[in-house]
């Protein structure tokens, strides 16, 4: 009974949030003088209208799913890792440089690029975890600040030492990687690539990891009640550094997947402008850090974004409607966390031990 109730509640609240988001979006559409139904129809078409748009949505969802999974892991353990953006950018840069400069056949380049991205981004993220467990520096703030340092550093690397000077382009970017090291596309002529498969496999894998492994168990308990976990013998500092490493590593993988599967080089600002990392964090918040849920939430956010682009092509309503809808979704989710908080308080009061 309880389980069914929990599942239903877990489903109802995101749905309510989506409805609220669409309602507020409708108000915004009316404000700019658009036709609500027409606009939403175009939005739907832009996201899922035909096979090209559908796969395009999936391609955009790929980095969002990956980042979301990384963040979900940290959130599950109760650590506010807000550094996905920097971790992703460093991962992308490392992947691009490795693929460019490691000799060998394409497959080796590809694997080396992925491993480099995972290690660099993981260490960068674990560094923040170490600062917290060693010096008591607030993880939320350090990860936020480290974002800026990471993106600036990556920008420097491609503006100076590793700048592509072969073409006439003045852009800060690396050279293009070897075609043999690129992720294969899943369908001829479509943008969706191997990274999407990796993301889905990882989502399933993380779901199983959380549910069925002892480390996953320790992470869940640490996030639920850190005192209980400590009492049971879980070492918080160690767990923090490990889970921050993995969390950052997955964000780094997201960066690698963008480089190897879509952009084929590291272009300064391209990942931050697309807002992949923050969308990933939003997806995690929407799904309350559930891996499978995060993947679905990432798809939803991606669809809102690609749908927004489609809508903008065919109506006068600006693309930014999407960001309004996304923001309202998140606001509703913070309210959802409140509801579970109130529930918990009631459950505590039921005990009735007065004194």
């Amino acid at each position: 009974m309880d389980k069914l109730k929990d599942t239903l509640q877990a489903l109802i609240q995101p749905l309510l949030a989506i409805v609220a988001g669409l309602l507020v979006g409708a108000i915004a559409i009316l404000l700019v003088g658009g036709d609500v139904l027409e606009t939403y129809r175009e939005m739907w078409k832009g996201a899922f209208g035909n096979f090209f748009f559908l796969t395009n949505t999936l391609a955009r969802a790929t980095p969002i799913i990956l980042v979301g999974l990384g963040v979900a892991l940290a959130f599950r353990a109760g650590f506010f890792n807000m550094g996905a953006e920097g971790q992703m950018v460093l991962g992308a840069l490392s992947a691009a440089l490795t693929a460019l400069y490691i000799p060998g056949p394409g497959l080796i380049k590809m694997l080396a690029a992925i491993i480099a991205a995972i290690i660099v981004a993981g260490l960068w993220s674990a560094f923040a975890g170490w600062l917290d467990s060693r010096f008591g520096m607030n993880l939320l703030i350090t990860t936020l600040l480290l974002n800026y340092i990471a993106t600036l550093f990556a920008g420097y690397m491609v503006a100076y030492p590793f700048k592509d000077r072969t073409g006439s382009s003045a852009l800060s970017q690396t050279q293009m990687i070897d075609a043999s090291a690129m992720f294969p596309k899943l369908f001829q002529g479509m943008t969706v690539h191997l990274g999407f498969v990796i993301a889905i496999v990882l989502a399933l894998g993380m779901h199983l990891f959380m549910k069925h492994t002892t480390k996953g168990y320790e992470i869940r308990m640490m996030g639920g009640n850190p005192l209980f976990a400590s009492y049971g013998g879980v070492n918080r500092g160690k767990l923090m550094i490990i889970s921050m490493f993995v969390s950052g590593a997955i964000a780094g993988l997201a960066g690698a997947s963008e480089v190897l599967g879509t952009q084929y080089r590291f272009l300064d600002g391209s990942l931050t402008a697309a807002n992949y990392a923050w969308s990933g964090i939003m997806a995690t918040l929407l799904a309350n850090s559930n891996p499978i849920g995060t993947a679905f939430a990432a798809l939803l956010l991606s669809a809102l974004q690609t749908g927004g682009m489609g809508m903008e092509r065919n109506t006068d309503v600006p693309l930014e409607i999407s960001s309004i809808i996304q923001a309202v979704l998140i606001l509703f989710i913070s309210a959802k966390i409140t509801i579970s908080f109130i529930k918990r308080k009631k459950a505590g009061a039921k005990d009735g031990s007065a004194v």
Partner: protein, 307 residues
């Protein structure tokens, strides 16, 4: 090095301190009543946009600043309602508001000005620069302190006003009490929730001013995400300054100076990417001196004990 540390560097520093300082003061007031406001970044962004919008709509600088304050007040009410009445996790609410601010400003930029990324109108007037009579004639000091935008002086005055409010008035004393020990404050019949609302609204107004200085202070323009981490730096300034106005001013001065220095260093053929890291690196180093309260205490506070 003479060229590096010249008059205009310090003048620029003062200009760049203002938004950080104003927001950090807001953060300090919130921290004083027990609310850790991660939403500063979003509040400044709303302030920056609505200042430009107010200017565009009315053509009056006074109205623009007023409009920015009002908009940010409304926005901060959302933060207050969700964290005080609904008792939602303050950090999640702060993050959510940052998202909302980004969404609202990019949408409005598009919907109202029909531009993407940035809005700039060369005919739009910025905040007036004040020449302080006697002061401006003092050689070095005059060049640094005089001729700044009106909000820079306002920020300095607000530091003093807040210092007096918190440490000299009865209302400020009770605000401190509500944050220091809410249970004790309630047992004395003080209204803790009302006090928290007041604090969040003060914070909102200050972030409105911070935003106005950002978009109208030097160049009159708005760009998407133009706060660029200043809200988070302000948050660290709040922590370093121990939520004490004078202390917060000191910390903000440090960060503002680093920002000015980072721009200045670009003239010395150091790549801008490297110089722009300076404020963030210094901020992180500064954090070593501020210790988090242990996670055990945090957990004990939030967990409902059976006793």
């Amino acid at each position: 090095m003479d060229q590096l540390f010249d008059v205009s560097l310090f003048a620029a520093a003062l200009r760049m301190v203002a938004p950080i300082l104003l927001a950090a003061l807001g953060g300090a007031i919130c921290a004083r009543v027990g609310l850790f406001n991660v939403g500063l970044e979003g509040m400044i962004l709303v302030g920056a946009f609505s200042a430009i919008l107010g200017n565009y709509l009315t053509g009056s600088i006074t109205m623009a600043v007023l409009f920015s304050v009002v908009c940010t007040l409304v926005f901060s009410l959302l933060f207050a309602y969700m964290s005080i009445n609904l008792q939602a996790n303050v950090i999640v609410v702060g993050i959510a508001l940052n998202f909302l601010a980004t969404g609202l400003t990019t949408f409005s930029l598009r919907a109202i000005f029909d531009v993407k990324g940035a809005y700039y109108d060369k005919d739009m007037k910025g905040l007036p620069k004040l020449d302080i009579p006697v002061l401006k004639d003092i050689p070095w000091l005059g060049d640094v302190l005089s001729g700044q935008s009106i909000l820079v002086y306002a920020a300095i005055i607000i530091v003093i006003v807040l210092q007096i409010y918190l440490y000299k008035t009865v209302a400020g004393f009770r605000l401190l009490a509500a944050g220091e020990n809410p249970i004790a404050a309630r047992s004395l019949g003080l209204h803790v929730k009302k006090t928290q609302y007041v604090a969040v609204l003060i914070c909102g107004a200050l972030c409105g001013l911070a935003g106005a200085q950002l978009s109208l202070g030097n160049v009159t323009m708005f760009t998407e995400g133009m706060t660029n981490g200043r809200g988070f730096i302000a948050l660290v300034a709040t922590m370093l300054g121990q939520s004490n106005p004078i202390g917060v001013a000191g910390a903000s001065l440090l960060f503002g100076f680093m920002e000015a220095l980072s721009y200045r260093l670009q003239n010395f053929s150091i790549p801008s990417n490297i110089t722009a890291m300076l404020p963030f690196v210094v901020t992180i180093i500064a954090m070593i001196f501020f210790k988090n309260s242990g996670y055990k205490d945090e957990a004990k506070k939030s967990s409902g004990s059976s006793r």
